[in-house]
């Protein structure tokens, strides 16, 4: 399978990331809504009061008092309000980072689709992507994404050297 150019793996990945670029914000708004419902609202509200109360009633109707998920939810609700706000903010940062990672990956694959590989633009995008992945791995305490960040760091340097060689080649008449 072709890796660069039209109808290649890069082209497929670019399209996939384009879809994800719209899915992530919608999904994050939904998750934020559910989490704020769990964290800050009254779960025992009468469902006939409002649509929102009815939604909450349907959302939590399957959970009973001795259910493990219900206990987990109660535990989260019993947290200090500052910690709950911090958790929501952290989730916001997490989603923003994820969005930026997807956006930058899409830009890279767009360039690969257009057969632009060794260019300063790609070096800058990949360098930014590497930083984002490393920050993401630190926030999520994920070793595998830290490893990915280190690999991307090495790839950035390779791309940088490749770009210098390409420039040298282009300016050799």
């Amino acid at each position: 399978m072709k890796l660069l150019g039209e109808k290649s793996l890069s082209s497929i990945l670019s399209k996939l990331l384009h879809v994800l670029l719209y899915v992530v914000p919608v999904a994050s708004i939904f998750i934020a809504f559910i989490l704020s419902t769990i964290f800050f609202s009254d779960l025992k509200e009468d469902p006939s009061v409002s649509c929102y109360a009815q939604f909450k009633h349907e959302l939590f109707s399957d959970l009973k008092g001795d259910d493990k998920e219900w206990q987990e939810m109660k535990k989260m609700r019993d947290l200090h309000p500052a910690i709950r706000v911090l958790a929501i903010s952290l989730l916001g940062v997490y989603i923003a980072l994820l969005f930026q990672i997807i956006r930058k990956s899409k830009l890279i694959f767009d360039n690969f689709r257009n057969n632009i590989v060794f260019s300063h633009k790609n070096v800058l995008i990949l360098s930014g992507l590497t930083k984002l992945v490393i920050i993401f791995s630190i926030i999520s305490a994920n070793f595998s994404s830290l490893l990915l960040g280190i690999i991307l760091l090495i790839l950035t340097d390779i791309l940088k050297n490749g770009t210098a060689l390409q420039e040298e080649h282009d300016l050799t008449i």
Binding site: E167, E168, L171, T172, I173
Partner: protein, 74 residues
């Protein structure tokens, strides 16, 4: 770079235009322009040979070393 490519001077002496030389040495106008403006990083022996052949000159007529320009042109 301290090496200056004096293509414009030799071309003027021979009264040859950029388009005509580009056709004769089978280079694109943009590549020849890069050579003329001194933006080129390197020149192939085959290109130098073709330019010398068409302009009827020596490589020394085209290339000039100027240590003073080392810092200004980079």
């Amino acid at each position: 770079m301290s090496i200056i490519f004096r293509l414009d001077r030799v071309m003027a002496d021979r009264k040859m235009s950029l388009n005509e030389l580009a056709k004769r040495v089978q280079l694109t106008n943009s590549n020849l322009s890069i050579l003329k403006t001194g933006k080129a990083r390197a020149i192939r022996m085959s290109t130098l040979e073709a330019i010398c052949r068409e302009l009827n000159c020596q490589p020394g007529d085209l290339l000039e070393y100027s240590p003073d320009d080392e810092n200004t042109n980079e």
